[in-house]
């Protein structure tokens, strides 16, 4: 019995402390270092924050270069397929242009009407969204736990935490982490994402909650609210971060929202440099 206990302790100690060959460091020393780094990072020491920001910028760029082969292959396939479907696509685009022409006229009318109504209401223009930054998506690694992307613009371009991120005017997420040359965008599909939205003709208020799946869910709706298919969902702007009326997606009968923008297909996004806002954490 005592021999067996000795064996256990020898193997245990050896596994923790053994060095030699490729093992330049013992596992114990590395575990202690990892715990030390973890707590320094979690409790947000300024020096660690700055170091992390610098490491992030470097790693994201290296990651972007390292991922180029994987990005090139699907594009090659798409290019060939796109070439073959050129005629069909052309016809579809013609139809879309015709639709847009008619919509443009409607838009002009609605814009004028909106301006007049604002004058009547003497509404305060809370958010000035003239300043935007176009950013390229560096890394969109698909983690099972976190749904986020890295963009190539950071505090150098005036980006702050909490700023909304859109693509083609459709909301895709918000900035959650900034470095000097890069930022992390938390997508609407992430489990940590919560956004106040309004929907339907009654402007019902709800919270759009990421569920980690493709379609986020609507929560905190009025009691006995019945979900209908294809109701447009917009950002309500109540938190004074997102611009009111930014389109997000359409509802399903299950109470989920089909997003207008596929979060897995982002290449360029727009960060809206909202003013009159402090950093949102």
């Amino acid at each position: 019995m005592s021999v067996s206990r000795d064996d256990f302790s020898i193997a245990f100690r050896s596994a923790l402390l053994q060095r030699g060959g490729a093992q330049k460091f013992s596992i114990l020393s590395l575990i202690i270092s990892a715990i030390f780094i973890f707590f320094l990072d979690v409790y947000g020491f300024t020096a660690v924050k700055m170091a992390r920001s610098f490491i992030n910028d470097v790693v994201f760029r290296v990651s972007y270069i390292a991922s180029s082969p994987s990005r090139l292959m699907p594009n090659l396939g798409k290019g060939i397929a796109g070439h073959l479907n050129l005629k069909e696509e052309n016809e579809k685009l013609r139809e879309v242009i015709e639709n847009y022409k008619s919509l443009d006229l409607n838009l002009e009318y609605l814009t004028n009407e909106n301006k007049n109504l604002r004058k009547v209401l003497n509404a305060e223009n809370i958010i000035n969204a003239k300043d935007i930054v176009l950013a390229k998506v560096l890394v969109d690694r698909n983690s099972p736990f976190l749904k986020s992307i890295i963009i190539n613009k950071g505090t150098q371009s005036g980006i702050k935490k909490g700023m909304p991120v859109t693509q083609n005017n459709y909301l895709v997420g918000r900035i959650v982490d900034t470095n000097y040359l890069s930022s992390r965008v938390l997508l609407l599909t992430d489990l940590n994402s919560r956004i106040p939205v309004s929907l339907d003709a009654d402007s019902s208020q709800a919270i759009l909650t990421g569920s980690g799946t493709k379609n986020p869910k609507l929560e905190y709706l009025p009691e006995e609210y019945e979900f209908k298919e294809d109701v447009n969902v917009f950002a309500s702007g109540k938190e004074r971060i997102f611009i009111p009326g930014t389109p997000i997606g359409k509802t399903t009968e299950k109470g989920e929202v089909r997003l207008y923008v596929d979060p897995n297909q982002l290449s360029f996004v727009t960060v809206i440099l909202t003013r009159n806002n402090k950093e949102q954490f």
Binding site: A11, A22, I31, A34, L40, A66, S143, P144, F145, K214
Partner: protein, 170 residues
């Protein structure tokens, strides 16, 4: 001769290069786009297998750095992936010290213990010391598929080892 040595060195570094590449690139093992619940943790399989079979091809220092890089890319608190990788390393080292001959079944069973320890540490630290919310069903799927796919990678890595690297370390 020099060219052959260089090739041997490159083949020996293969698993380590794969680990670094998985940590830093967009290439990942989460095929959620095709199958909603299918995610698995390949770095843990790589670390466990190579520390068990040929520790000379995978230094613990490299594993530590790969974990840090993974944290930066994924947006986790720094050091958390390193810790979970090192726990796997520790269990693998322990099994190597205690056993003479291992089979795929024994490796699979001990890998399960390593995986449970590593994931338990990872998610309890994330839950208690970070604001990041994680889905427990995703954790379960991830753990299940990692465990389920271990034998396949065991065979692939064994083939790689016998063809390009050679026998077990002393």
């Amino acid at each position: 001769m020099a060219r052959l040595n260089l090739l041997n060195k490159f083949l020996n570094s293969g698993p380590l290069l794969l680990l670094y590449y998985l940590s830093i690139s967009e290439i990942d093992t989460n095929l959620e786009k095709t199958f909603d619940i299918f995610t698995f943790n390949l770095p843990i399989i790589i670390i466990y297998f190579w520390i068990l079979k040929r520790p000379s091809v995978m230094g613990t220092g490299h594993i530590f750095v790969a974990g840090l890089i993974n944290d930066v890319v994924m947006g986790f608190p720094l050091g958390i992936s390193s810790l979970s990788y090192l726990v796997v390393c520790f269990v693998s080292n322990y099994v190597r010290n205690k056993s003479v001959n291992t089979t795929i079944a024994s490796d699979w069973f001990t890998f399960f213990i390593a995986l449970i320890f590593a994931n338990l540490l990872f998610f309890s630290l994330l839950n208690n010391f970070s604001d990041i919310v994680i889905s427990y069903s995703k954790i379960s799927y991830n753990t299940f598929f990692t465990l389920f796919l271990f034998p396949i990678f065991w065979l692939l890595f064994s083939l790689y080892q016998s063809n390009f690297i050679g026998g077990q370390d002393a």
